[in-house]
């Protein structure tokens, strides 16, 4: 058993959804469900779920092999600026790697993050896919 069950179960809300943490002290918003503001350290925070729509600000095409990740490579990892104004990093899927561009509008979608094959648990979490569902090409 390579992947932990309790570890995943404990954080899965932050993996299944894009939860934003808003600081009542300094007003900044950060991503993931946090107990304290990463900017000012205050514990006075509230949480809300992002709609999951955003724009690609920056991205890179990854060929870096870790474990036996060749079945997923090449992949694109991007910094996405959500409509709520917060940045989050994540993989871009549903595209050929040379199609991604800055300014592309994306939506968060549930995908497999990892699976402890053949007998272990599957981790699910959010990645990003182009929002448009119709071909312009």
């Amino acid at each position: 058993m390579r992947l932990s069950v309790p570890q995943f179960w404990r954080v899965k809300e932050s993996l299944y959804k894009l939860i934003l943490t808003k600081c009542l002290n300094c007003g900044k918003v950060s991503v993931f469900k946090r107990s304290t503001c990463p900017y000012c350290g205050s514990p006075k925070v509230v949480h809300e779920e992002s709609q999951g729509i955003g724009v690609i600000e920056s991205f890179t095409r990854v060929y870096y092999k870790q474990d036996s990740s060749e079945d997923r490579l090449p992949e694109v990892v991007a910094v996405v600026k959500l409509n709520e104004g917060v940045r989050v990093v994540g993989e871009v899927v549903g595209v050929k790697v040379d199609e991604v561009s800055e300014g592309m509008v994306v939506e968060a979608v549930l995908r497999r993050y990892a699976s402890d094959d053949p007998y272990g648990v599957i981790y699910y979490g959010l990645k990003f896919k182009p929002l448009k569902q119709n071909n312009t090409r």
């Binding site: 954080v11 993996l15 890179t60 990854v62 981790y123």
Partner: protein, 363 residues
């Protein structure tokens, strides 16, 4: 009470299949003449649990040497080595020990590279970065892209690597001791575009021993650990710019403000895990602009840096301290400097944490 580095040793950064953690540690220790009879040993190492299935590696190293001295293992990701020197000098300055040996040691070749890459990537946040597909080369790529957008040229980063390789030809313990050219970057393997293999540190096994003492007068040479400081930054994804290395910039700026340190005039080792990072840092400190002219920084990364001397992850900081110590006290292989002052800069991940040491030659 001051803490003084009075000697040390390094093992060549390489693929040492014939040596494990304790063998490397023992090799470094026994090549260090002034390292005998410490009151305390501080082991710096980041990956033994993952690489060698060994918890509490400090104890197992010390037991292996037969000299059962009090020991603690310090882990702080890529900055473990400098963290260990901080701890060692604190032990001495507080009077808890009179002589401390720092042993930086790391094995990265117990598994194939693609597995080592995964272990190394765990310096990032497992739940919020690693699981989401983010690895250290991704941040380096995003940083390089930002700098390219600012007006830096691709050649700027390539020329950093070229310079590091050139410097390493004069360093006997460096892993990569051959020159490279900017042209080679066209064809080299891409890690995360535009970061290539040549923009990334050389990964190898290593060990380095540093002896620190409260009594420098009994030794031939001594360098004082004048000042140490560290700062934790924001996670890279929470910044406006990934290339904003705020923690490192702050610490190095402080050295300028408090001690008048000018990086053009002192021996300095910057943590160049990926070529965009030292460029971003030198730019934010005002030493270079987008023309990227590194002339005038004559004592910058004379070791060849993480790029060419190599990066045995948790042990690297100890190498950096050893190299600055040597360059301040007679140099090596005919390579010497006129400086009395040296700066060691270490970083964990994309500036998740930064550490600096200010060293001054005492004798």
């Amino acid at each position: 009470m001051g803490a003084y580095i009075v000697g040390g040793s390094v093992v060549k950064v390489d693929r040492h299949f014939e040596y494990g953690y304790r063998d490397l540690a023992y090799k470094a220790l026994s090549s260090c003449e002034v390292c005998e009879n410490p009151d305390y040993v501080v082991v710096a190492s980041a990956l033994p649990e993952l690489m060698a299935h060994q918890v509490d590696v400090g104890v197992h190293i010390v037991q292996w040497t037969g000299r059962r001295v009090p020991v603690v293992r310090v882990e702080s990701g890529e900055s473990s080595g400098v963290a260990a020197v901080e701890v060692a000098s604190s032990l001495i300055r507080s009077g808890a020990a009179r002589k401390v040996v720092v042993l930086g040691v790391e094995k990265v070749t117990e598994y194939p590279t693609y597995i080592a890459n995964r272990m190394y990537s765990l310096i990032l946040d497992y739940e919020f970065e690693v699981l989401r597909g983010v690895s250290p080369p991704v941040y380096a790529a995003l940083a390089m892209k930002e700098l390219l957008r600012d007006g830096f040229s691709r050649e700027c980063f390539s020329s950093w690597a070229v310079r590091m390789h050139e410097n390493a030809t004069r360093i006997p313990h460096a892993m990569l001791r051959f020159k490279i050219s900017v042209e080679l970057f066209k064809d080299v393997q891409v890690l995360a575009e535009p970061v290539t293999l040549y923009d990334s540190f050389a990964l190898g096994d290593g060990a380095s021993a540093i002896a620190l003492s409260s009594e420098p007068s009994g030794y031939e040479v001594a360098v004082e650990v004048k000042y140490s400081s560290s700062e934790v930054g924001l996670p890279a994804y929470s910044r406006d710019r990934v290339s904003e290395l705020a923690a490192s910039t702050k610490l190095l700026k402080q050295l300028g403000e408090r001690f008048g340190v000018d990086l053009r005039k002192v021996v300095v080792e910057l943590h160049d895990s990926y070529t965009p990072y030292p460029i971003a840092l030198l730019h934010s400190l005002g030493y270079i602009d987008i023309r990227c002219e590194l002339d005038g920084l004559d004592y910058l990364n004379l070791s060849g840096g993480l790029k060419a001397r190599g990066h045995p992850i948790g042990a690297t900081g100890a190498y950096q301290v050893y190299e600055v110590f040597k360059l301040l006290t007679g140099g090596f292989n005919g390579l010497s400097t006129n400086s009395e002052v040296g700066v060691v800069h270490s970083m964990s991940g994309p500036d998740n944490l930064s550490r600096v040491l200010l060293l001054r030659r005492w004798k």
